[in-house]
Amino acid sequence: MIKFQSVKKIYEPHNVVLDNINLEIKPGEFVSLVGLSGAGKSTLLKLLTREERPTSGEVLVEGVDLADIKDKDVPYLRRKIGTVYQDFKLLEKKTAFENVAFAMEVSDTDPEEIEKNVPQILAVVGLADKVDNFPEQLSGGEKQRLAIARAMIHRPTILLADEPTGNLDLVNSYDVLKLLLKINELGTTVVLASHDSNLVNTIGRRVISMDKGKIVRDQTHHGRYVI
């Protein structure tokens, strides 16, 4: 599903953020990526959405080398991959409904389907009564659940979550985690980057630890947050 082969990322002049990464993630896995900030977790995720390109090495998603994707085809890649961020990245000028609908509109989805699907997914993440609210009228937890709804509307095969609980309190963090686990149960591969040890330890799945741009530990089962 996802494959990194000898991936290096160097920010000029010589700031090595990823150093010789070799990693394979199989379909349906739930992978936690842990490490201190600056360890290279976010950069690793950005390579998957082509926000960044590797300095050397290959990144493959579903067998396709991302270096071979033309700039104009990048949107198609991003529609296959759902993303959730620490800062939510919601469109402030659009309502909850419009935020989710926008992700569907960009792939030219039939308007009737949008009208039907958006309220459904908002109900799944518990925002049925906030359909017409703007992001600034939502709490942090609600914003993140809205972002997850937007990420899931395409039924992506991969969901990338970069510190999704970084701005949330304990209760909201666990709500978000429960949603991610549910999404994973339905077949989506989930990659979660986090430095919240308690959260990661409750998951008990594969944990990959990173330090200074390198993978230092890869526990495939019952992983714990260790650096």
């Binding site: 959405t49 926000e51 104009k72 949107p75 198609y76 890649l77 991003r78 529609r79 993303t83 990245k89 919601l90 469109l91 402030e92 000028k93 926008f102 992700a103 509109e105 960009v106 792939s107 308007p111 937007r150 395409h154």
Partner: protein, 301 residues
């Protein structure tokens, strides 16, 4: 079609929700367009002033007393074959005397002296107006070589040559500097508009990047912003026209009090369809192009 409607609706929603920003951008663009209309007025006024100065230039050929009317008319028709002539008027000796008497009707001394003479002291003349004042030298040259040169007493171009030259320099100067000023101000106006739209887009830079991240193609993002830029232009054009016409009406009254032949307002009323079309198209064009250029930078993610 539904797609286009969707883009328009989305642009309109964005325009409304960005209230202050839209208001500011529209206001700046309206000022720009008013400046353009002002420049149009300036062009019109300078061309009118130049035309009225140039209309005052002419050349006359005076004929000797023994020149026959046939000869004079022959010279006239020769001149008329030239492409640069706009108008030739013939004044006979009797007509010249009558005009002279009429214009000095109040002056008893002149009237008395005229009545003392047995013969008419005045000459028949052709008064020649050229389409372009630079042609007077060649017209004088043409008369110089005419086969009836012998009956032409004098050509007053030579007395007036320096004055004609100076007037021509002045009117060329007004025209050229007017054009240069228009050009410079137009560039400033375009830059100000562009910068304003760029700032409004910059303000929405994060939104654009988010749209890229959820998989929107460039045209999908651009569409509504281009239409929004068009909205700025459209509303700005409406405001500019709404402000400019009353101003030109009042200004017109002031101008005609010292230059009665110039009517600014009627010029703009006469060409109202073209002016509206020009300003609206210009406004929309400026808005859309500025958005297009401004948004490019933020689509690179």
């Amino acid at each position: 079609m539904t797609n286009f409607k969707k883009i328009i609706r989305s642009a309109w929603t964005n325009f409304r929700r960005n209230g202050y920003l839209s208001f500011g951008a529209t206001g700046i663009m309206a000022l720009t367009l008013i400046l353009f209309l002002g420049l149009l007025s300036l062009q019109f006024l300078t061309s009118q002033v130049v035309a009225s100065i140039q209309g005052k230039i002419d050349v006359s050929a005076y004929f000797t007393a023994d020149a026959t009317e046939e000869q004079i008319f022959q010279v006239k028709s020769d001149l008329e074959s030239l492409p640069d002539i706009s108008n030739i008027t013939y004044t006979s000796r009797d007509q010249a005397l009558a005009d002279f008497k009429a214009s000095h009707a109040q002056d008893q001394l002149i009237q008395d002296s005229l009545s003392q003479l047995d013969t008419n002291p005045l000459a028949a003349s052709l008064n020649i107006k050229a389409k372009d004042p630079s042609q007077y030298a060649s017209i004088a040259q043409f008369l110089e070589n005419d086969k009836f040169r012998s009956v032409i007493d004098k050509i007053d171009f030579y007395e007036n040559a320096s004055v004609i030259g100076r007037i021509q320099n002045i009117s060329n100067g007004i025209r050229d500097w007017g054009l240069a000023a228009t050009f410079v101000l137009a560039i400033i106006a375009v830059l100000v508009t562009f910068n304003t739209v760029r700032l409004t887009i910059f303000n929405q830079k994060q939104e654009i990047e988010i749209m890229r991240l959820v998989g929107a193609s460039n045209w999908h993002i651009r569409g509504p912003y281009l239409v929004e830029g068009g909205f700025y232009g459209l509303f700005a054009a409406a405001v500019a026209l709404g402000v400019f016409y009353p101003i030109s009406y009042f200004a017109s009254g002031k101008i005609s009090s010292f230059a009665p032949e110039i009517n600014l307002f009627s010029y703009f009323v006469h060409g109202i369809a073209q002016v509206f079309l020009l300003i609206i198209v210009l406004g929309i064009f400026l808005g859309v192009i500025s958005s297009f250029i401004a948004i490019r930078k933020h689509l690179r993610i």
